[in-house]
């Protein structure tokens, strides 16, 4: 594909929408992902993705608005997880709960496909794997505005949250409301998952949380630099992924975005591994 082909890419409205909405939500995923990785709560992010699926399917089965179902369930589950858990959450309790949530989701899906009109037949796949090329103007506006709001919340609670993450005992002694912060944080993660479900997919959002944040933490040791680097890498994954999906029609956009995000982490890990080993040999030479 030539460069003119790439230039033409930006003439399509659906590509512009995909890039705008995708970048907005990816930036929030990067910011939230940094804290998820730092706090050892990646598994909780995974669980919220599964809860989102059940919420969407439940709303469809009950004949309610899909978005309302998504946001209500993920935010509620996020706040509950955050308020109920200590620093590293009990993986068995989370795991058994969300496997059951997925089971419920399948029940709703079966009910919906057998009793519903079937007018929205691809809703199942869209919630699981996203539909970044199917976003219209109003959905793009919603995604951008919501992402901006969520990013502001994350930046505001960022400093006390970092304190509460790095040294919870001291933070609590100084009077930082660690439990409350944890609940707000996972609530924001829940809202992010709900919005991202429509774009990148409930099952794949985990990749946008984990990979850019882990790559950023590899590249720099400073907390704030990593906090700001993670969203940049996540947005880069969206842009490269959308371009690849445009150039290779057989590849779904969700796939190219995930592969790009994983490649970013892999590159970061390889670069820093060489640096780390050279630093180790340098220190052992002394």
């Amino acid at each position: 594909m030539s460069l003119t082909g790439l230039g033409q890419m930006l003439h399509h409205a659906f590509i512009i929408h995909a890039l705008l909405a995708g970048s907005a939500i990816a930036a929030v995923c990067g910011l939230a992902g940094y804290f998820l990785v730092l706090r050892g709560q990646v598994f909780a992010g995974d669980a919220l993705g599964h809860v989102a699926y059940t919420g969407a399917m439940g709303a469809l089965a009950a004949g309610l608005d899909l978005h309302a179902g998504l946001f209500a369930t993920t935010i509620a589950a996020g706040v509950a997880l955050g308020a109920g858990s200590a620093r590293i959450t009990d993986d068995v309790a989370i795991g058994s709960f969300f496997s059951w949530m997925l089971g419920l989701g399948v029940l709703f899906l079966t009910y919906y496909t057998t009793h519903g009109s079937g007018a929205n037949g691809t809703a199942n796949v869209n919630v699981l794997f996203g539909s970044i090329f199917g976003i219209n103007v109003s959905a793009t506006t919603t995604a951008v505005l919501l992402s901006a709001g969520l990013a502001v919340v994350l930046i505001v609670i960022g400093r006390p949250l970092l304190f509460a993450t790095v040294d919870p005992a001291v933070a609590q002694a100084v009077g930082v409301p660690t439990r409350w912060l944890g609940a707000v944080f996972l609530g924001v993660v829940g809202a992010t998952v709900a919005e991202a479900s429509q774009i990148i997919g409930a099952l794949l959002v985990l990749g946008l949380f984990a990979a850019p944040a882990a790559a950023a933490m590899r590249l720099t040791d400073r907390p704030w630099r990593a906090f700001w680097l993670a969203p940049v890498l996540a947005v880069a994954a969206i842009w490269v992924g959308v371009t690849l999906a445009y150039l290779i029609p057989a590849a779904p956009a969700s796939f190219t975005i995930m592969i790009t995000a994983a490649a970013i982490y892999l590159i970061a890990a390889i670069i820093t591994r060489r640096e780390r080993t050279s630093a180790q040999t340098a220190s052992s030479d002394h």
Partner: protein, 304 residues
């Protein structure tokens, strides 16, 4: 049209067993349940649930790729899960030790592997064009999907897993409970961790074929967690866990046969209910123990 159940359980079972696919499903379910009950017990003990979940999910792209290439679906599950287990073992072995930051990065790697696996599965499914029905069955399972040759493959895989587990059983248990002491005593903890992850991969691949990739977790986590609430003894716990998994799978299959709802829903619901019941029982037991141990304390003080 769904068959209607009667109150006579024996005729119900006879009605189910009249179908070859149900006989296969019941056999495959038994093999898979016993294996994942036993392997899951060790997984829960080692706190590797997230890795187990990821290995289970990796079966999905494997099966989708096999469908696309025209290969047997079962082989797709096994190849993908074992390959992913090798990747995880090489990149992030063992989660018991390490600082919080290492734990964070490790889980981030596992999460990335999982998301990439699901995305790759989506790619293969869309290449195969079997989009809607095939996707749902791969992710959430179906009772009509097991062939007799698949049952044989499952049995062979399960026997290999059990022999391997029996061979590394003692060092595995030791490294899981006290990794530092085990390492100091010269046990190759890393090797043991790698072997266990490979066994976990095989178990997840087997279970995927019955409950679907996304719901393997119901069999790998809930029965072992319930068993660990009920007993602390390893041999009894593993047996109990396998028994619970077996009961949950068979009952779930029965319900899936007589109702229009999928097997994944029934198995995960029964498994979670068992886990909740065991947790509740434990809580009640702990409370009564506390009461018993509190009351003789003043007498003991008075006698000294």
């Amino acid at each position: 049209m769904n068959p209607t159940p009667s109150w006579n359980l024996i005729t119900d079972v006879q009605q189910m067993m009249a179908y070859t696919f149900m006989v296969n499903a019941v056999r495959a379910g038994a093999i898979v349940a016993v294996l994942s009950g036993a392997v899951g017990w060790l997984m829960v003990l080692r706190r590797e649930s997230f890795a187990g979940h990821t290995l289970a999910v990796v079966g999905f792209p494997g099966a989708a790729a096999a469908a696309w290439l025209g290969a047997p679906i079962g082989s797709g599950y096994f190849v993908a899960c074992v390959a992913a287990a090798a990747v995880l073992a090489w990149w992030a072995p063992g989660t018991a030790a390490g600082t919080a930051a290492e734990f964070g990065e490790q889980s981030a790697v596992i999460g990335t592997v999982q998301a990439v696996a699901l995305a790759t599965g989506l790619l293969f499914v869309s290449l195969y064009h079997g989009f809607l029905s095939g996707l749902t069955n791969l992710l959430f399972g179906t009772i009509a999907g097991v062939s007799s040759s698949q049952v044989v493959v499952l049995l062979v895989a399960a026997v290999i897993c059990v022999i391997t587990l029996a061979a590394v059983g003692r060092p595995l248990l030791w490294t899981s409970i006290d990794p530092a002491t085990a390492a100091a005593q010269g046990i190759p903890t890393r090797l043991v961790a790698v072997i266990f992850l490979l066994v976990l991969g095989v178990a997840a691949a087997g279970a995927s074929q019955v409950t679907g990739s996304l719901l393997v977790f119901a069999l790998l986590v809930c029965p072992p967690a319930a068993a660990q609430r009920l007993t602390a003894r390893p041999s009894l716990g593993i047996a109990l866990s396998a028994l619970i998994a077996l009961a949950v799978t068979w009952v779930g299959m029965g319900f899936a046969f007589f109702t229009p709802y999928p097997i994944g829903f029934w198995v995960s619901s029964f498994a979670y209910a068992t886990y909740l019941a065991a947790t509740g029982y434990r809580a009640v037991l702990d409370r009564s123990h506390q009461r018993v141990s509190r009351s003789p304390a003043p007498e003991a003080l008075a006698s000294t």
